[in-house]
Amino acid sequence: MIGAASLGWVAGKELTLLNVSYDPTRELYQDFDAAFTKYWEVKTGEIITIQQSHGGSGKQARMVIDGLQADVVTLALAYDIDAIAEKAGLLPPGWQQRLPHNSCPYTSTVVFLVRKGNSKGIRDWDDLIKPGVSVITPNPKTSGGARWNYLAAWGYALKKFDRDEGRARDFVDRLFRNVPIFDTGARGATTTFVQRGIGDVLIAWENEALLSVKESGKDEFEIVTPSLSILAEPPVAWVDSVVNKRGTREMARAYLEYLYTPEGQEIAARHYYRPRLESVAQKYAGMFPRVSLFTINEVFGGWRQAQKAHFSDGGIFDQIQRAGR
């Protein structure tokens, strides 16, 4: 592998690494890439360029399946990387066991962003199904963030109604009737809410909500933390068939492992992702409100089951959408 990499160097070829990521990680990886480029130069003497591609997580996975040469994928949810493994066989099925914490170096959760003053009085999930409340969330078919949003609402309803599936479904159905616009990705939904001024509440990644509050100034938006939410775990992986062909396996692996180092964790925390490393988590504890969180494994038995039951063609989300028309 080192041979192949240095061969590329001798041939005067630019050493590049393509990170195909999801929507709201643009700023995170801009910073992280700069830090890693320096780290790698000090470590190996090689000067590398890291390229980024961003979009809805499902769409990005589809492009990798169709041949986008991603050395690493850093997507919104494990199922999208599973799809790359299953449909195209570009990485082994056990990819999630290769890095610590199920290959999820940082976490986030789902919170609400409301306009200053919170005139609709939104405090918890129950307030989102009230008539006359306009809710912005992207399309779960294309956006990973939207699937976390949907499952967070579903998990809350299951708990509220004592695991009664029928009533949970009715709850989510009513919530989605309040959604006037489906954007394809989380960033598009944020733009709709923040810049175009549409909707009373945005269901958003916590990092995206914190970023919006910071960017627009504290006096425009408020974050409302629901009583219960989901632990969103965005996973990372190197794509074996691509790194083997391009001779970038070592670099790709080091890139992802650098996310777990104190430096990487600091950068993640600064971009409002909840760090895994205890020391960094403590330092940034004030930034992240305490929420009771459930995991997808606890409530849905993992991504495969959740995807199959809810988001596959003809699944529960499709049925809700059809009934809503």
């Binding site: 492009m63 169709d66 040469q69 960033r187 598009g188």
Partner: protein, 301 residues
């Protein structure tokens, strides 16, 4: 035609008897409607974007253009246009020539095929190339094994752009060539000019305004195409982002500053279109005159 005029303007029968003139009222009403419509729906949004671009001053405008990623997007867009426009000019000339000057089997099929890109949604065009050249597509395995990148790289963007801009030059040239007819070329050939001489000295000058107009439209679309390019681009920042894709990415940049930058870029993408708008008068008048001229001849008979 006369039948339609009679029924549609029964109130102004007198005027229409006097000749082909419409009543002044109808004429001015039509002009007013057309002008008002283009002002409100076409000019107003464009002027607004231009105004927004300079809200934060020239410095912001300039810095948003000179960002490395924006520069890369501009360069890629120019490269794509530089490849696809000349190819479509060559094809357009050949196709228009064949259709206007010759009778042959399959002529109507060729005319239909030229129009095909107009009738296919750009998203479908992009997906078509993915189904063909994507890793799971028809040629995917072979291309992958030979290390040839088409989709999610510059060749794919060029292919999609050529497909989308295919009809523009041919569509502009065909009516002009048909209107000029073949008499002059036949005369040139009879006087001993070679095929090439005839083409350069007789055919090309007579269609030059139509050709220029076609190139302008073709170029504007090549530089502005979003849908098909978005599907095949892969959105690699600084590598496979064209100007329209960059505008979208900046719009989604979440920061206030970059929104303005997006407006700046939107203005840039719109600017060539405006320059073209100024030029449009010329070719339109020329071809318009020629076509109405030939029509009046028919009416005279």
């Amino acid at each position: 035609m006369t039948g339609i005029i009679k029924t549609s303007s029964a109130a102004s029968v007198k005027q229409s008897r006097r000749g082909a003139e419409e009543s002044p009222l109808a004429k001015w009403a039509l002009i007013a409607v057309a002008l008002a419509f283009s002002l409100v729906f076409l000019l107003l949004p464009l002027v607004n974007v231009m105004a927004q671009a300079f809200v934060k001053g020239w410095a912001c405008y300039w810095s948003s253009l000179t960002q490395p990623d924006s520069r890369a997007a501009i360069r890629l867009t120019l490269i794509v246009a530089a490849i696809s426009v000349p190819l479509n000019v060559l094809f357009g000339l050949a196709a228009a020539w064949a259709i206007a000057k010759f009778e042959f089997r399959g002529k109507s099929l060729l005319v239909t095929l030229i129009d095909l890109p107009f009738s296919v949604s750009p998203v479908v065009v992009g997906l078509m190339f993915i189904v063909l050249f994507g890793l799971q597509g028809f040629f995917g395995k072979w291309l992958g094994a030979h290390g040839i990148k088409i989709i999610f790289a510059v060749p794919g963007i060029v292919l999609a752009t050529i497909f989308i801009t295919f009809p523009f030059v041919a569509r502009e040239l065909i009516p002009v060539m048909q209107a000029t007819g073949t008499e002059q070329e036949q005369a040139a050939l009879t006087l001993g000019a070679s095929g090439w001489q005839t083409f350069w000295h007789v055919t090309l000058p007579s269609v030059k305004w139509g050709l220029i107009y076609g190139i302008i439209l073709c170029n504007a679309r090549a530089m502005g195409e979003f849908g098909a390019v978005s599907v095949v681009s892969g959105h690699i920042i600084g590598r496979t982002e064209t100007m329209p894709l960059r505008v979208e990415a900046l719009y989604q940049g979440a920061t206030g500053a970059s929104t303005v930058a997006a407006f700046c870029r939107g203005e840039l993408a719109g600017a060539p279109g405006l320059v073209y708008a100024g030029d449009q008068d010329f070719p339109r008048m020329e071809t318009g005159e020629r076509i109405s001229g030939s029509r009046s001849r028919i009416v005279d008979r």
